[in-house]
């Protein structure tokens, strides 16, 4: 059995005295797409922050492709192939589209290659290359954000709440992109709160609640659990 691309073992993290992650165990196999679902406040975004080096864990281990990486800085992780697209609009609103793309070359791919990939994939970005990113629609901004994942050829892609605040149709489009990235062999961990769409592209799924992983399995099995956790008896 090959080494998983991401292996999280008994991870704890806290904000002050409030413990948010209470022993997270999670493993993402190489080349797989894993959806991590769970209600608001379950600790999903904190987990992303800890894995990507933005926040320190209080205890536990993280292995990226078998290498123990805890304590590494996020900019260094980004340069060795961890691509994190955080929650919210993860572009620089006051830079133009092209300038945003140029900055993506910090991950190690030459700027011209980044531009080619992004424009090839999303012709709409080429039309708007001189427009400020903040003035584009939410969907277009997420396209721009996804360009980083497309162009930098990462080993692992962390997607946090890709669909947040976007119309379902646009979310579908974005997840088609995720599927294509996955086809190129990139391992993906995508975090979603309400996500039938995410499950459609995922090979595996996990449910997080109260700072722990409470269920893992195939997307089909997870779906039922999900509705309970999120809408309660509502739906």
């Amino acid at each position: 059995m090959s080494v998983p691309i991401l292996d999280v073992i008994d991870l704890h993290a806290a904000y002050g005295r409030i413990e948010v992650l209470r022993g997270v165990d999670l493993s993402v196999p190489r080349g797989a797409v894993m959806a991590l679902l769970g209600p608001n406040g379950a600790g999903k975004s904190t987990l992303v922050k800890v894995i990507s080096g933005q926040k320190e864990a209080t205890s536990g281990d993280i292995h990226l492709a078998g290498v123990h990486v805890q304590g590494a800085r996020s900019e260094d992780l980004a340069r060795v192939g961890l691509c994190t697209i955080p929650e919210g609009r993860s572009v620089f609103p006051n830079l133009t589209v092209e300038e945003n793309l140029v900055l993506m070359s910090y991950a190690g791919v030459p700027a011209s290659a980044v531009l080619d990939t992004a424009y090839g994939y999303f012709p709409r970005l080429h039309e708007r290359r001189h427009q400020l990113a903040g003035t584009m629609s939410g969907g277009e901004q997420q396209m721009l954000a996804m360009s980083r994942a497309l162009a930098s050829d990462p080993a692992l892609l962390l997607l946090d709440e890709l669909s947040m605040g976007l119309a379902p149709l646009i979310v579908d489009e974005l997840y088609e992109t995720v599927a294509r990235i996955a086809e190129s062999g990139v391992s993906i961990l995508c975090i979603e709160q309400f996500a039938r769409t995410a499950l459609r592209v995922a090979d595996y799924a996990a449910v997080m609640s109260g700072g722990r992983i409470v269920a893992t399995g195939e997307p089909g099995e997870i779906l039922e659990t999900m509705a309970d956790v999120i809408l309660g008896g509502a739906a």
Partner: protein, 262 residues
């Protein structure tokens, strides 16, 4: 008769439209829910209502007066109180002093020099929301759920007529949430109108009289809990699909109500 009316409010940050022509109201003496997926613009709506955010367009009416141009404190003085999603408790004060400060602010300069006292004592407020045992702790050292209750107690100290609660139950466990729901119903019965942003659907469905659903900055549905529950637009907004859409291998039945997994 609506106590609060949000009329055609638009908020744009740069090019991003956070709230798009939102139009909803909250009635006197009842609990109104404002729900929607993450990033739908609920907190921004609250900021507009309390005056922390100027709307790009639109009006806010409160007690039949246009308060759109009013500063934050003036709205508060007229009875608009709120809690915050990202907690804004006074971290370096004790829990008790947090509530006391609120009472003193409400009492005005006379109270600062020990003159007037509020009708309801600080201890009673702490007791009412159930955080008496934390009274002497520093507010930045208490758990999130408790801090939310503290924000509620602090808000009640200023004797609000309209209470805006931003995700008040996150951080509370099941029993606490139930008790919290009862408290809300009590408050409403006493004549306090409540507008609540909340993710716990069980709580929303059980206590709210009306519910407005915000998605992508727009109100996509308004109505009684029963109508909202079965509204396909709402389900689509939340789950990305609606019952009856049937786009995932035959799983179209009503999703059974099961106890929470946690």
């Amino acid at each position: 008769m609506a106590l609060l009316e949000v009329d055609d409010v638009v908020v744009r940050f740069g090019g991003v439209t956070a709230v798009n022509r939102a139009r909803f109201s909250a009635d006197r003496g009842v609990i109104t829910g404002l729900i929607g997926p993450n990033g739908a613009g609920k907190t921004t709506c609250f900021n507009v209502i309390t005056g922390l955010q100027k709307p790009t367009k639109g009006r806010v009416r409160y007690r039949d007066r246009d308060v759109t141009g009013w500063p934050v404190h003036r709205r508060a003085r007229h009875g608009v109180g709120r809690t915050f999603q990202r907690l804004e408790a006074f971290g370096s004060l004790s829990v008790r002093d947090n509530v006391r400060v609120a009472q003193e602010i409400h009492g005005g300069p006379l109270a600062w020099f020990g003159g007037r006292r509020g009708a309801v004592s600080v201890e009673m407020l702490l007791d009412r929301v159930g955080i008496t045992e934390y009274a002497d702790e520093r507010a930045d050292s208490i758990p999130t759920g408790t801090a939310r209750l503290l924000e509620l107690a602090r808000c009640l100290a200023s004797d609000p007529q309209l209470l805006l609660l931003d995700e008040p139950s996150s951080g509370l466990d099941e029993t606490e949430t139930d008790a919290f729901g009862e408290l809300l119903v009590e408050l409403a019965a006493e004549g306090c109108s409540i507008l609540m942003v909340e993710h716990d659907m069980d709580l929303v469905m059980s206590v709210c009289h009306d519910i407005h659903v915000l998605d992508f900055g727009e109100i996509i549905a308004s109505g009684a809990p029963a109508d909202i529950r079965t509204n396909p637009d709402v389900q689509r907004a939340y789950l990305g699909y609606a019952e009856g859409d049937g786009d995932l291998d035959g799983d179209t039945g009503v999703i059974p109500a099961v106890e929470e997994v946690v």
